[in-house]
Symmetry: C2
Subunit: 492 residues, 2 copies
C-alpha cells in the first residue's frame, strides 16, 4: 500500500494528520495556520452544509451575508467580547501596495493607511447588531432569524488541520427576539438541531449541556454546547449556541417598541458550527486503514471495483457495473466505478478504504455467472455476497445498517470511557487516561481554574440529556456541597 | 404606496439604488464599500449559486477551498498580475490588538507585526498555483478542475451595491491542463456555461466575445467574456473566462512529466462570476414598480393574496389557498400566502410587485364561487382569470411564458439599441445615447485608448456569437484596415 497510515495506538496525533493528508481532505498552505480544503474534504463539508442548511430553513431561518471586516471600534463596544477576541485578530491597516522603491517586488504604500483599522471577523455579532439596529423598530420586526455561511479568522498560535486553524469556514446564526424567554428557547432549539445533526448524520454521540460561566462565549449569558468523545478519550466541543441576553442590543443601542408601545432592548442568540466538525468526524470513526465515513455524509457511498483479465473483460465489467449504478442512482445511492486500468485491485481497495467509502462492491466473471456481487463494508471490514437481483434495496439496507452501527459503536466506546469519580486522588490518577469524568463540583470558577491548572482537565459541560446525575454530593476539589455532577475531561 | 421608487427615466442611478434597498436586497454597511446582503437578496444569490454549481459539476468540476490570505510576495511573482491588483489591496499587517494604554478601547499591538504582510485575496490564482505545485507531478494528475465559492476584496474607490463593492462574493474556477489546446477549450466551455446561465436562467441576452488585449485579465493571454446591455444602454460585463497560458505555472514553477516523460509547464484557465450578476439582473429587467424577477431565479414564484371581510372569511381563504399551494408545490412551484391581517391588499400588491414576484393570485369569495383565480403577471402587468381546476399546470405554463417573454423583451431592446457606426463623427454623436456600437477598429491599444480618452467608450468585446460582422472596413478612428467589427459602448 502506497500511502501508509501511522497507527493510532502508536501516535494518535500523527494518525489523525496522516488521515487528513493522505485521504486528500486538506493540507497546510503557505499561509501560517490557514488550510487548503481539497476537493474530497470539501465534498464532505458540502454534504454537512446541505443537511444543516435544510435544518436551519425548516426551523424558520434565512441566510444573509454580512461584511468580512469589522471596524476596530465595534469590537470594544461589548467589554467581554473584545477581551475574548482582541488577542487573536488579523488587522487590516492599509489598502494599497506600490512598487518597491529599493528593489524588486511591492511594499505597503504608507500613504494608504486606513483611518480606522479593520478586523477580519473572528465572529460577527458586532457588525450584525450594528445592522440590526436599522432593521428593528417595533415588535412587528421581530423575530429576526438569520444565518450566514462564512469564513472567519482567529489568529491561533498552535494550529491543526480542521481542529484549530487561523481561517476556518462556519455558519453563524444571529437571531433577535422580543423576549428573553423566546431567545432562550431559540438557543436551546439550535443546540438541539446540532445534536440531531451530530447523532443522525455524523453518527457521533454527543452530550448536550451548558458551559460553566468561565467557558462561556465572550459576551454570552448562557452557552449551550454539544460535546463529543474522540477515540483517544479526549473531548471535542462540536457546536455552541449562545443566549446573549441584551448585551449586544445595549452595545449597539438596538431598541424596539413592544406591544405596549414602550421601548425595550432586543434579546439575542448566536450559534455556530464549523469545519472543526470535519476533524470530529475523522477522529470519531477513523481506524488504522483510514477514514470511516457515515453513509449520510459520504460523497461516494458505494465504490465498484472490477476484477478482470484483459480489455474485453474490463469493458464487459464496466457495462455490467454501469447497469448496477443506474439501479443505485434510482434508489438515491451515490456510487463510483473505479475502472482505472493502470492500478492493481489491491491498491484500489486500500485507496477507497483510506477514503472511508462505506460499501465496496467487487465483481468478477464468476460473480456475474453466479448472479452475485462480492460486498465489503468499511465499518466492520466484513465481506459477503449479495445477490445481483434487487441489489439496490440490499445496499440501501446495508448503508442504513452501517449508519446505525457506527453510532452504536461510538456510543458504546463513550459509555465505556465515562466514569464517576468521587475523590481528588482518583481524579488525578485517572485524568491522563482520557474519558469523561462525572464529578461533583462546587460551582465556582476558582475551583474550576485550580483543577485546570493542576491537571489540564476542564469542565466540558453541565449535562442536560446524557449522564445527568442530579444528586447531593461534595466537590471533588473543595469538598463543598454540590447538587449535580458535571463532565470533566481533557479536550481538543 | 409606502416605498416609492424614483422612475428610471428621471434618474436611472437612483432608480437602481432604490430597487436594491427598497426591495430589501442589500444595503451599505458601516465598512466603506462593503455591503450587507439581506435575506431576500441572498435567496436570489443562492438560486444562482445552485444552478451554476450544478452546471460546473456537470462539466466535471469539483469544489475546494483555498486561503483568504495571500503572502505579499506571491502577488509579485506574475508581473502583470501584481500591476493589475496592487493598487486595490486590503493589507493585513498585525495579528493582535491590546488595551489602549492612553484611554478606552483597543489599539493595534505593535509587537504583533507580521513578518510578511498578507493580502486579502482579490482573486486566487497565486495562492492556488502555489498549491497546485504540490498536486501535479505527471500528466496523470491532469486535468485539475477546481472551483471555489468565496469572498474577495478589491479596494475600489467608487462603490455601488452589487455592481462594484470592496468585498464581493463570487466563484472562481481554476483549472490545470497538459496542453494549450485543452486549456483554451476549457476557457471557451466555461464562457459558454456563463452564456447559457445568463440567457436561460437570468433571461438576459449576452454577447460572447474576446476582450481586447488592453481589457484582458491581469496575467491572461486571452479573456473571454459575456456582455449584457442594461436598460440605460450601458454595457455590463457579467462574466469572464481566461486562458492563462503558462504564466502562473512559470511564476510558481509548476511542471509536469508529459506522456513522453519530458518536463513541461502546466497550462491554466480561470473563470468567475460574482454578486455583480445581482446588479445585472436588477438592471436588465426592473421597471418603475420594482424588480421583475425571471421565474427560474425568483425565490417566490407565486404570491397569493386573499381578498376578504372579517376573520372568518380570512381563515376560509387561507385554507383554500393552502390547498392551491399544495398543488403548486407538487408541481415544483414555490409560493407564499400573504395572510397579514394588518396590511391592506393594495399595499401587499405594491410590495410584491416591488419584490418582483412573477405571478400574483388574488382570491375573493366571488372567485371561489365562480371557480376562478384572479391572476396578474409581473412582467407585462396583465390581469386575467384562470380556472381553479388544474391551476398548477396553468401557472407552470404561465411561468414558462414569463421566462421566455422576459428574454425576448430584453433581446428586442438590445437589438433596437445596437447600431453599425462607420464614421468618427457619428461615433461621437451617438456615444452619449448609449447602446452597442458596431465599429471597425484597427486592432491597436493606442487607438483603443484614444477613443476611450475622448469618449469614455471602451471595446466591450470582439464578438463571436452575436453581431458578428466579418467584413473588410476601415477603423473609425485611424482609418486603417479592419476585418471585423467590434462592440464599443460605455459600461458599468
Amino acid at each position: 500500500m502506497a500511502k501508509e497510515v501511522t497507527s493510532k495506538e502508536e501516535n494518535y496525533s500523527l494518525w489523525y494528520n496522516n488521515l487528513v493528508v493522505k485521504a486528500d481532505l486538506a493540507e497546510n498552505s503557505a499561509v501560517r495556520g490557514c488550510m487548503v480544503i481539497k476537493p474530497y474534504g470539501y465534498a464532505i463539508w458540502e454534504k454537512m452544509q446541505a443537511v444543516l442548511d435544510r435544518m436551519f430553513k425548516q426551523t424558520g431561518h434565512q441566510n444573509a451575508y454580512f461584511p468580512l471586516f469589522i471596524p476596530k471600534s465595534f469590537l470594544s463596544r461589548e467589554a467581554e467580547h473584545v477581551e475574548g477576541f482582541a488577542k487573536e485578530c488579523a488587522v487590516v491597516t492599509h489598502h494599497r501596495l506600490k512598487a518597491n522603491p529599493d528593489g524588486p517586488g511591492v511594499v505597503v504604500d504608507p500613504d494608504a493607511r486606513l483611518e480606522e483599522e479593520l478586523i477580519v471577523r473572528p465572529t460577527s455579532e458586532t457588525i450584525i447588531w450594528n445592522s440590526y439596529k436599522n432593521w428593528i423598530k417595533s415588535y412587528r420586526d421581530l423575530p429576526i432569524l438569520c444565518n450566514q455561511w462564512a469564513n472567519v479568522v482567529r489568529w491561533e498560535m498552535r494550529t491543526r488541520l480542521f481542529l484549530r486553524t487561523a481561517e476556518f469556514l462556519w455558519q453563524e446564526g444571529h437571531t433577535a427576539h422580543a423576549t428573553a424567554a423566546e431567545a432562550m428557547e431559540e438557543a436551546e432549539r439550535m443546540v438541539g438541531v446540532y445534536a440531531d445533526f451530530a447523532r443522525n448524520y455524523m453518527a457521533m454521540p454527543v452530550v448536550v449541556g451548558h458551559k460553566s460561566a468561565h467557558e462561556r462565549f465572550a459576551g454570552a449569558l448562557d452557552t449551550w454546547c454539544i460535546e463529543a468523545m474522540m477515540q483517544d478519550g479526549k473531548a471535542l466541543q462540536a457546536g455552541t449556541s449562545h443566549f446573549l441576553g441584551q448585551n449586544f442590543a445595549k452595545a449597539f443601542d438596538v431598541q424596539f417598541a413592544n406591544r405596549d408601545g414602550r421601548l425595550d432592548y432586543v434579546w439575542a442568540t448566536s450559534w455556530g458550527v464549523s469545519t472543526r466538525l470535519m476533524g470530529a468526524l475523522i477522529m470519531a470513526h477513523g481506524d488504522n486503514n483510514g477514514l470511516v465515513l457515515p453513509p449520510a455524509l459520504a460523497p461516494v457511498q458505494v465504490v465498484m471495483v472490477p476484477i478482470y483479465k484483459g480489455e474485453d473483460e474490463l469493458s464487459e465489467m464496466l457495462a455490467y457495473m454501469g447497469r448496477i449504478g443506474e439501479e443505485l442512482s434510482a434508489a438515491g445511492i451515490s456510487f463510483k466505478i473505479d475502472g482505472r486500468d493502470n492500478i492493481r485491485s489491491g491498491f484500489k481497495f486500500a485507496e477507497w478504504e483510506l477514503k472511508g467509502v462505506p460499501v465496496r462492491l467487487t465483481i468478477g466473471r464468476r460473480d456475474i455467472e453466479a448472479g452475485v456481487v462480492e460486498t465489503a463494508r468499511r465499518d466492520t471490514a466484513e465481506k459477503f455476497s449479495l445477490s445481483r437481483d434487487g441489489i439496490a434495496a440490499q445496499v440501501r439496507k446495508l448503508l442504513d445498517d452501517i449508519q446505525s452501527n457506527m453510532y452504536r459503536k461510538a456510543l458504546a466506546f463513550r459509555d465505556a470511557n465515562t466514569f464517576k469519580v468521587d475523590s481528588w486522588d482518583e481524579f488525578k490518577e485517572r485524568v491522563d487516561d482520557g474519558g469523561f469524568m462525572l464529578c461533583h463540583w462546587d460551582g465556582t470558577t476558582e475551583t474550576e481554574m485550580k483543577i485546570q491548572e493542576e491537571t489540564k482537565a476542564t469542565i466540558r459541560c453541565i449535562p442536560v440529556d446524557s449522564y445527568v446525575v442530579k444528586e447531593e454530593g461534595k466537590c471533588i476539589y473543595s469538598g463543598k456541597p454540590s447538587h449535580q455532577r458535571v463532565i470533566f475531561a481533557k479536550s481538543y
